[in-house]
């Protein structure tokens, strides 16, 4: 065929059509009720349009009728995998508003439990990430290790997932006598098991092929979309709130802010794996040095924040969570707004997934570590 013939052949070829697929609200890899409207050309993604609202429970509105103690338990239900950090954010915000001096012991306990929560969240993410890519066994291994952390939580906080361990002014109960021993046992155990994660996925040739150079997010995009947490740091955006704006006991521990510059799925994956090592380091520094003291500062039974606006940010397992409270000196806040990390991270999905295949979208979503109730609230 001559060149001219080829061109006419292409011109006369039947037109290909773009078509739509509804990925979700019920779909195995959207991890909840996220609905993505995909525009596809064959298997290549032209556009991703997230549609939200399937699990909207109006938590922000509910906060407006609740007392400050009651708000805390609602935040458990936002990003349920980093529930402790959510609670902590609200409590810190309220404590700042009250100018309350909280005991050192509380700060350390909160930090340890936050890091344990981060570990458990990342373990679950690792398992699910493997499952999204088709390696179902990782899911079970991730849960196996997470179970030990939930046991620690259950013993000390009284619940496994929605712990509601924080109260404004401190923590609900003092730590359980077994807490330190169990935590140390877990760290020793997990230091042995974490290399297994690398053997099973990180080094695996199929896995690296599936994740390297997929779902690229540049640093500029990460900043403009507000992608935070390990996802943002994998694009080179130094946004670790623990480092930049230390709260609780993070100012006294040494840890590295994990930053990768590749911005692809593999970098995001590595960032989380490395964060697990850092979390273990933080816990090890604090677990033997919990200062003696009260587990809760004295607060009034009815907390009234002075009139004004209060903002507090913490680093959850997914990124930066902001709590913004407007108070009019009543027993419930005038307005509460949560800046949830999942929402901002999801907004970058379209940029990341465009031009990739459906399978890559799944990998990209996985490495963003979306928790849908956090996005919808």
């Amino acid at each position: 065929m001559t060149e001219q013939e080829l061109i006419t052949n292409i011109e006369t070829a039947p037109e290909t059509q773009e078509y739509f697929i509804n990925m979700g609200p019920q779909h195995p890899s959207t991890h909840g009720v996220l609905r993505l409207l995909l525009t596809l050309d064959g298997e290549i993604i032209k556009k991703v349009e997230p549609h939200l609202g399937y699990i909207h429970r109006s938590i922000e509105k509910m906060c407006e009728k609740d007392s400050y103690q009651q708000i805390v338990h609602l935040t458990d239900r936002m990003d349920y995998l980093s529930c402790h950090m959510n609670n902590e954010a609200v409590c810190l915000c309220v404590e700042n508003g009250l100018q309350l001096e909280i005991p050192e012991r509380v700060k350390v306990i909160r930090t340890i439990i936050s890091e344990l929560t981060r570990l458990s969240s990342h373990q679950l993410w690792w398992g699910v990430m493997g499952m999204d890519l088709g390696a179902i066994t990782t899911f079970l291994y991730g849960f196996r290790d997470r179970e030990l952390i939930t046991d620690i939580f259950e013993e000390t906080c009284g619940a496994r997932l929605t712990m509601n361990y924080n109260v404004p002014g401190g923590v609900m109960f003092d730590i359980h006598p077994n807490f330190q021993k169990r935590t140390k046992d877990f760290i020793t155990y997990f230091r042995k098991k974490l290399p297994e994660y690398d053997e099973l996925l990180t080094g695996n040739v199929i896995f690296t092929e599936r994740t390297k150079d997929i779902g690229y997010l540049s640093k500029e995009d990460a900043i403009s979309y507000g992608v935070t947490g390990p996802s943002g740091r994998a694009s080179g955006f130094a946004c670790d709130v623990r480092k930049r704006f230390p709260y609780s006991a993070y100012d006294r521990v040494e840890f590295k802010e994990i930053i990768y510059t590749e911005g692809d799925c593999f970098a995001r994956y590595k960032a989380r794996i490395d964060e697990m090592w850092e979390s273990m380091k933080i816990i090890e520094q604090l677990i033997d040095n919990i200062p003696e003291g009260e587990h809760k500062a004295k607060t009034k039974a009815v907390i009234k924040l002075p009139e004004g606006e209060y903002y507090q940010r913490v680093e959850t397992a997914r990124g930066e969570l902001g709590v913004y409270i407007v108070s009019d000196n009543k027993k419930s806040p005038y307005r509460v707004k949560f800046r949830s990390p999942g929402f901002s991270n999801l907004s970058a999905l379209d940029t990341m997934a465009r031009g990739n295949k459906i399978a890559d979208l799944v990998a990209t979503m996985s490495t963003l570590d979306l928790v849908i109730p956090d996005i919808d609230r």
Partner: protein, 159 residues
């Protein structure tokens, strides 16, 4: 050069796959490390942690006495309205004064989020979280419970 890369690609790829298979192979050959539990069968040995929040109970002693004064602090503390205190009046035969007592302590398990705020708010430590977690019933109405036992009285000296 190209051929060398090609062969080393294959070699490294196969090596990484075998590393992965070693991990799963290890667990396959070590059934002693199985972590799952056989749940309904191990009911007898299954013990929940003492702080585990399964349901709210009103503590009764052996004389069918409880400590609830009917102050409804728990009702106010509950974020979901899962506690309803219906209080009555009792007239003291000696002094003739009327005191507030509970008539029924209604607990809607179906609405409870186990946040523990009611227990914290109770001034007399009358209620606590119990460890029972098998709450499934065939009829939703069974989830609405009355926590004070019939004929129970408030302990003397509790105000």
């Amino acid at each position: 050069m190209g051929l060398k890369n090609y062969i080393s690609d294959i070699y490294n790829g196969v090596k990484s796959l075998i590393t992965g298979m070693k991990v799963t192979g290890h667990y396959f050959t070590h059934p002693g490390e199985i972590v799952t539990q056989q749940y309904p069968e191990n009911r007898d040995t299954l013990k929940m942690f003492e702080r585990f929040r399964g349901e709210v109970v009103l503590i009764h002693d052996e004389n069918n006495m409880h400590k609830c004064t009917g102050c409804s602090a728990c009702e106010l503390a509950c974020p979901n309205g899962s506690i309803e205190i219906i209080s009555g009046k009792e007239i003291d035969p000696e002094t003739g004064k009327s005191t507030k007592i509970i008539d029924t302590f209604v607990y809607h398990l179906s609405m409870c989020t186990f946040c523990n705020l009611c227990i914290l708010s109770c001034p007399t430590d009358a209620i606590k979280m119990a460890q029972g977690f098998e709450h499934s019933v065939f009829d939703r109405s069974k989830l609405t419970k009355v926590l004070n036992k019939p004929g129970s009285k408030i302990m003397p000296g509790i105000k």
